[in-house]
């Protein structure tokens, strides 16, 4: 579409883009800015843009509120969940992509569980983990309420369909002939998987891992209901800044910035591959 565009139209276009980006970036910018404000510059009207930056909010969040504890929980739970999802998901996705196991029906079933609203199963999960936590197996695997295992299992369940969906689309892109010739060279099926297919699918597996990690990291509902204190994650931790006296916005902003920053960095690095993940592999962005 090579039509001549006037300077006026172009100015209008970039002006609008600037405003649009401003709207989407500003809340995050304001959050980061607030996290460095001294107490006296937060609850003031009009809002202040110039101030002497301070780290007291971070000190409050990390020291008084022990926010690192939530970070540690989140890290353990997200990383373990992601590892399990990626391993189980890759194996299953490969089976679907190459062997068409279940002739589409099993894949359909797994994908349809992605539509399940978390809230509809939250009460059963609550009751199940409450009971399982009292058994010997539950105790050894930390599957009770307010324990890491319960959230890990839940996150694995809720992220597997998405991961499989995405991974199938990546495996489908790998030419079958490569595996074929590796088989003729005498490699076993497992060796083909390990030495040919998975290395070739590594970018796709990485994208899936990043997405799963972001979903686990940002999850709130299960973390809120299945944990009380010992296994609480950052999303729940930020809620603890609600006090009877009101919300401490400075420390909230600091905690929020700490908890959001790792995912923002991930997304910036993976930006080029994100679109495909967002559409379950349907749009090859």
């Amino acid at each position: 579409m090579q039509r001549k565009t006037s300077v006026f139209v172009e100015t209008l276009r970039y002006g609008t883009i600037f405003l649009v980006l401003g709207f989407f970036v500003f809340p995050i910018f304001w959050m980061v800015l607030t996290s460095f404000k001294p107490e006296g510059a937060i609850m003031v009207s009009p809002p202040r843009f110039l101030f002497t930056p301070t780290l007291e909010n971070y000190a409050h969040a990390l020291h008084d509120k022990n926010f690192l504890f939530y970070i540690k929980n989140t890290l353990i739970i997200s990383v373990v969940s992601t590892a399990i999802v990626v391993v189980f998901g890759s194996l299953a996705a490969y089976s679907f992509a190459r062997y068409n196991v279940g002739d589409g029906h099993i894949l359909f079933f797994i994908l349809s569980t992605k539509m399940m609203p978390a809230i509809a199963v939250i009460l059963p999960y609550f009751l199940i983990f409450r009971d399982v936590g009292k058994t010997a197996i539950g105790k050894s695997l930390h599957l009770g309420l307010d324990q890491h295992g319960a959230l890990i299992v839940t996150y694995v369940m809720f992220n597997l369909p998405f991961a499989i969906w995405l991974l199938v689309s990546f495996f489908q892109d790998i030419p079958r002939s490569l595996e074929h010739s590796a088989r003729l060279d005498g490699l076993s099926r497992i060796q083909v998987l390990r030495k040919v297919t998975f290395p070739l699918a590594a970018p796709g597996i990485a994208v899936t891992a990043v997405f799963t990690l972001i979903f686990c990291w940002n999850e709130f509902l299960f973390a809120y209901i299945l944990t009380r204190k010992m296994a609480s994650t950052v999303t729940v931790g930020v809620e603890s800044f609600f006090t009877l006296q009101g919300i401490l916005w400075g420390p909230v902003a600091a905690a929020a910035t700490i908890s959001v920053a790792p995912m923002l960095i991930f997304v910036l690095i993976m930006q080029r591959y994100m679109v495909r993940g967002l559409t379950f592999g349907a749009v090859r962005g």
């Binding site: 304001w30 062997y99 196991v101 539509m115 969906w165 079958r176 940002n218 916005w249 908890s259 967002l278």
Partner: protein
């Protein structure tokens, strides 16, 4: 589940290798871990919710009790708060998804024609998506603050009225919508943009040569070609909006009154605040049923297309 042409390709060589395991069993072995987890943690909770929905389940008075037949369903369907929550959910979904689609597609067109700082704009646009609604949503309460919030400061300096964003029951729901628009419009925009960029060049060149007007190209070429992508986005966004919980939980907690109480939030309140597991389970079963029927209708074409590709490959 007969052996398909797709699997016979690798099967031929497996015989020569003599791995001891047929392709069929190998493929089943690969999906077993994922299947086990999905079966246990999808079917078991559903069965339990269904079971509790037929029993007395007032946890504040002890354990899950006797079977009461359809009594819980009768109570829930006669409960005006339940239908009120359904109405709130419907209003939220229609307005939020509608505006997100409209704005998202608009932004996609805007960015499609732009050549300057492409990577940067996309990076900035994607940021809201990476944040947790529970965390940024909480911070939005500060933006919405009537005294110290930036929103009212901006409106005030433009000489516009300064609403009580979260406290006024006629406005609160739209404030939650605005937050959802902030977080999810980039999703629509980025995918619509990817769709625009993947459009084939030839039909557009031909239309230009024929002297077709911009409007005609847009309505007869661009949108029809974009339809599958836009439909996918629409379905995904609708599912997410119907089951919205996080934003309501941190922004308004269903209030003021019950002005922003969505189905999911009412379900949560019934089950875990009032400890009526029976009513909550009944709602969950109903909610799940509606979602499933809707999702199957909306997603069957998408999934079919997808599984068909899996068969061909």
């Amino acid at each position: 589940m007969s052996s398909t042409p797709a699997s016979s390709g690798l099967a031929a060589t497996s015989k020569t290798k003599g791995a001891g395991l047929s392709d069929r069993w190998f493929s089943v072995l690969l999906i077993t871990p994922a299947m086990l987890i999905t079966l246990i943690f999808a079917i078991l909770p559903l069965a339990q919710a269904l079971d509790v929905s037929f029993r007395m389940g007032d946890l504040s008075r002890g354990k899950i009790g006797d079977y009461v037949g359809l009594e819980n369903y009768r109570v829930v369907f006669a409960d005006s708060t339940f239908w009120q929550a359904g109405w709130v959910t419907l209003k939220f979904t229609v307005v939020a998804v509608g505006l997100q689609m409209l704005l998202g597609v608009g932004i996609a067109f805007l960015l499609h024609g732009a050549t300057f700082a492409k990577g940067l704009t996309r990076s900035l646009l994607i940021l809201p998506l990476a944040t947790s609604a529970a965390v940024t949503g909480l911070f939005w309460r500060y933006l919405y603050d009537t005294q110290f919030g930036v929103m009212n400061w901006i409106l005030g300096s433009l000489g516009l009225p300064e609403p009580n964003w979260l406290g006024d029951y006629t406005i609160a729901l739209w404030s939650v919508v605005l937050f959802d628009i902030w977080q999810w419009t980039p999703f629509v925009a980025l995918i619509a943009l990817a769709g625009l960029q993947a459009l084939p060049k030839e039909p557009f060149e031909a239309a230009e040569l024929d002297g077709a007007s911009r409007w005609r190209i847009l309505t007869t070429l661009t949108f029809p070609l974009l339809k599958p992508v836009l439909f996918l986005v629409l379905v995904l966004r609708t599912i997410d909006c119907v089951r919205l919980y996080d934003a309501v939980a941190v922004l308004t907690r269903g209030g003021p009154g019950t002005a922003t109480e969505t189905m999911t939030f009412y379900l949560y309140r019934t089950g875990l605040k009032l400890f009526r597991m029976d009513y909550a389970s009944t709602m969950a079963v109903f909610f799940l049923y509606v979602m499933l029927v809707a999702a199957v209708f909306a997603l069957t074409p998408l999934l079919k297309q997808f599984t068909d590709r899996a068969k061909e490959a």
